[in-house]
Symmetry: C2
């Protein structure tokens, strides 16, 4: 007889053979992530201060890109390449993160293919690109705005697919409204809000550069 371990996720009839309950508390899981994030942001803030002629906005953007890049590669990277994370017997931090997050969206523990596809693209393509974006800002590369715009578009596209597929499948994957709003809506909201702001900023900058470049070219050809 297959002993089905009870799991806390919704829908209740979700089959999770070999599920091992969460070993760490919610405050530990969320606390470690927030602490690591603060450390990363502080480190990049200090490091970026050594770049020549760099604005505070650009330093903040470097912090964002390293923070989101590491979140993509470490946290989401573990998820994508560990299909059996919910069976981890020894409490391993990264597995615990996804067992906890699945309370807000059980499609993670159920390995929904749309979620894995979006997360896969995020991990493999966007993660390294985020680190490159931080480097491009610090090194004042000419592709800096364009790369930031491209990644932000990707993040927005991914988050929209993530929300729309949940909606189409009945939007019933959270244990309670608390987890629905705090994990699913609030946490993901950052990846709508920040990419949108970066997108608008980069769009304006690039358009201005292209417009002035074209005007000068037209003027030069007339002279």
């Amino acid at each position: 007889m297959d002993m089905q371990e009870a799991h806390p996720y919704i829908p209740k009839d979700l089959q999770l053979s070999g599920y091992v309950p969460i070993g760490l508390s919610q405050s530990t899981i969320v606390g470690v992530y927030l602490l690591c994030s603060v450390l990363v942001v502080s480190f990049i803030w200090m490091l970026s201060g050594r770049c020549r002629n760099i604005s505070k906005v650009d330093r903040l953007l470097m912090c964002w890109w390293v923070f989101t890049g590491l979140t993509h590669m470490v946290l989401e990277g573990y998820f994508v390449f560990s299909p059996n994370f919910y069976r981890e017997k020894v409490p391993r931090y990264l597995a615990e993160v996804w067992k906890e997050y699945s309370k807000g969206d059980s499609r993670y523990v159920a390995r929904d293919s749309a979620v894995i596809a979006v997360e896969g693209i995020t991990v493999v393509l966007e993660g390294p690109a985020c680190i490159l974006a931080a480097y491009a800002i610090g090194g004042k590369k000419s592709y800096s705005y364009l790369l930031q715009l491209a990644i932000s578009l990707g993040q927005l596209y991914g988050t929209i697919v993530y929300f729309v597929t949940a909606f189409l499948e009945g939007d019933n994957f959270a244990v309670s409204p608390f987890y629905y709003y705090s994990y699913y809506v609030f946490a993901n909201g950052f990846w709508i809000l920040v990419p949108t702001m970066i997108l608008i900023r980069c769009w304006k900058r690039i358009c201005t550069a292209v417009r002035i470049h074209e005007q000068k070219k037209t003027k030069a050809s007339k002279d």
Copy 2:
């Protein structure tokens, strides 16, 4: 007793209550699409010839954007907003298109949520943006390259999600290798190939413009 109409799609156990078989032949369905496409492209090619100082590449790009924009809005638009297309009793061309295409990917007739999410974004956001891109090229707008790059990135992201979700779900949605390669691989391949070429072209153009703009700004501030 529910009379289950036999359908040609794979997997065979797919439930399609009320399915009405295809009324038009494959050559009619594909032929009408190709003919309409040739007419649209010819019309835009002639129209774009009236734009001042426009290169042949830009005229070709205007043809592409109107062609892909109309495909997104008309063909894919019908699919997204007609969940019951496979029950259409009177042969309606747009319903027949998707009954036929589903032989290459039954997730269309089965209304897979990842497919609908990607198609929804394509129809609502990318479709109108494609028409705007054609207008921007013709009107030599400063946002022309940026808009083309943004849409191409969206098309690539969507096509990757489309392929990856099929792969994750077992990649067994085609009636035969013929439909798999002609509809699923070959037809979709265009939306990998063309957006990639446009992406590279726009990326180079924008980077050049930004680099020259930045150099002049630095030089001006030094003078």
